[in-house]
Every structure is written in C-alpha cells, then in structure tokens.
Amino acid sequence: MTSTPSTDERRLAVAGGAPARARRPRQNFETWSWFFMRVSGLVLVFLALVHFALTHIINDVVETDAAFVAERWDNPLWRLFDWSLLALALFHGLNGVRWSIDDYVRSPAWRAGVKAVVYTGSGILFAYGTFTIVTFA
C-alpha cells in the first residue's frame, strides 16, 4: 500500500472494499472522511450561508468594520459560531483539496510535497484564526 487511493478507489473503500469480498463495510479512514464531508457539509450550509447573509446581505460589507466585529464577539456564542465555521470549513475544504491532490498529482514525490505545503499552510492559518477569535478583546 504505497500509493494513495484515487477517487474511484475511495468509492470502493466507502462501499466496503471489493464488492465480491467484503460483505460488512470496513470502517477505515476513508469511510470516516466520507462521513465527515457529508455531516460537516450539511452543518456548513447553515453556518456559511447565515454568515454570508449577515455580513453581505443584511448588513452591507462596509458596515462590518472593527466595531461591528467587537460588538458581535462581545457575545461568546458568536465567537463559538465563527470558530465552528472556521474549523468545519477549513477541514472540509482541506479534505476536498486532499482528494483533488490525489486525483491530479500522480507522482508520489510531488504528491507528498504538495500535501506537506498545503497541510502546513492550512494548519498555521487554522491556529492563527483560532488565536484571533479566542484572544480578541
């Protein structure tokens, strides 16, 4: 098992390995990855669309200045809302990028390199975003 599975192979994994072989689905990492995408996706429909409506439709974008953020983040529930959106959107997006890399970057060395850059960059930004939401006073 040296190469990472392509989309087709993942679908097989989700279906429980080779159809003739496994009757009972194997709950491997890709199964949970598929499940996470479905659940986080449905939650994100709500979180992302509410967030967009608040910052672009109900309020004009120019009104969402530092004072607007300070007022919202005065309520810890809005901080939780924004952090949930950050965490779910980032990991949902990162997993989508991981699937895309496996589909398009065929050379194992390039694949590992591209993933290292994407994971590191996303990890740093996730930590930075979390720090911002938690420490803003």
């Binding site: 479905r38 996706g41 672009h56 530092a66 950050l86 930004l125 975003g129």
Partner: protein, 133 residues
C-alpha cells in the same frame, strides 16, 4: 495497489454528462471558497494587530471590483451548498439517483434564484451611485 513510481494515468473525462459538470462545478466552487477562506483568516486576524489596520484593509471589500468578487463568492457558496445537498440525497435516498438530472436542475435553479437577488443587494451601492471609489 503496490505501485512504484507514478500511478497509472487514466482519462479524467468519464463522459458523465450533467453529473460530470456537477462534479467539475463542485470542485471549482469548493476550491474558490477554500482559497477565500485562507485569505479571510488573514484579513480578519488583522483586527488583533490593530483595529485601524483592520478597518483600512477591510474598506477595500466595499469597492466595486471586490463587490463583484463577493457576488462570485455568493454564487460559489450557493452552488456548492445546494449541490452538496444533492450529493447527500444521492447517497442516502435510492430514488434520488433516478431523478439525478432533475435534482441538478433544481440545484441550478436555486443557485440562480438566491444568487441573483443576493448579487443585486451586494451591488446596490454601485447601482445607486452611492459607492465611493
């Protein structure tokens, strides 16, 4: 799969017609939203460096070019949301596979039905001529 070196190349086009376009649209819209998210983490985090700096950078989002970009973001979000719901339906309800094309039509219809008025609201300051810059 024990391959050494490059994995075998396969033709990425599987001639899935509307389903294929839905797949392409889902990937492209997802990638755009993800890239915007990374940028958005950086611009919001400026608030912890200085609120003046945040306001200065944030004011850029009000100009007409970035408003058009926000309309694009809205369409990407809507399409990805509705198409994602379609994907979940296809996974969960056996009947959804047979009505797959009709479901995709609904996705496109809902994206336009929500995106056009939303886009109008975002562009309104420009349309009214009250936008500075």
């Amino acid at each position: 799969m024990t391959t050494t070196g490059s994995a075998p190349r396969v033709n990425p086009v599987y001639r899935g017609r509307s389903g294929q376009w839905a797949f392409v649209g889902h990937r492209v819209s997802g990638m755009l939203v993800f890239l915007f998210l990374l940028l958005h983490i950086v611009d919001v985090s400026l608030i912890n460096i200085s609120t003046e700096l945040y306001d200065e950078v944030h004011a850029l989002y009000g100009n007409v070019v970035l408003r058009l970009f926000e309309v694009g973001l809205l369409f990407a979000l809507l399409f990805h949301s509705f198409n994602g719901i379609r994907i979940v339906m296809v996974d969960v309800f056996p009947g959804a596979v047979r009505r797959e094309r009709r479901l995709l039509s609904a996705v496109v219809f809902l994206t336009l039905a929500a995106g056009i008025p939303g886009g109008y609201v975002i562009m309104k300051p420009f349309i009214d001529g009250t936008l500075l810059g």
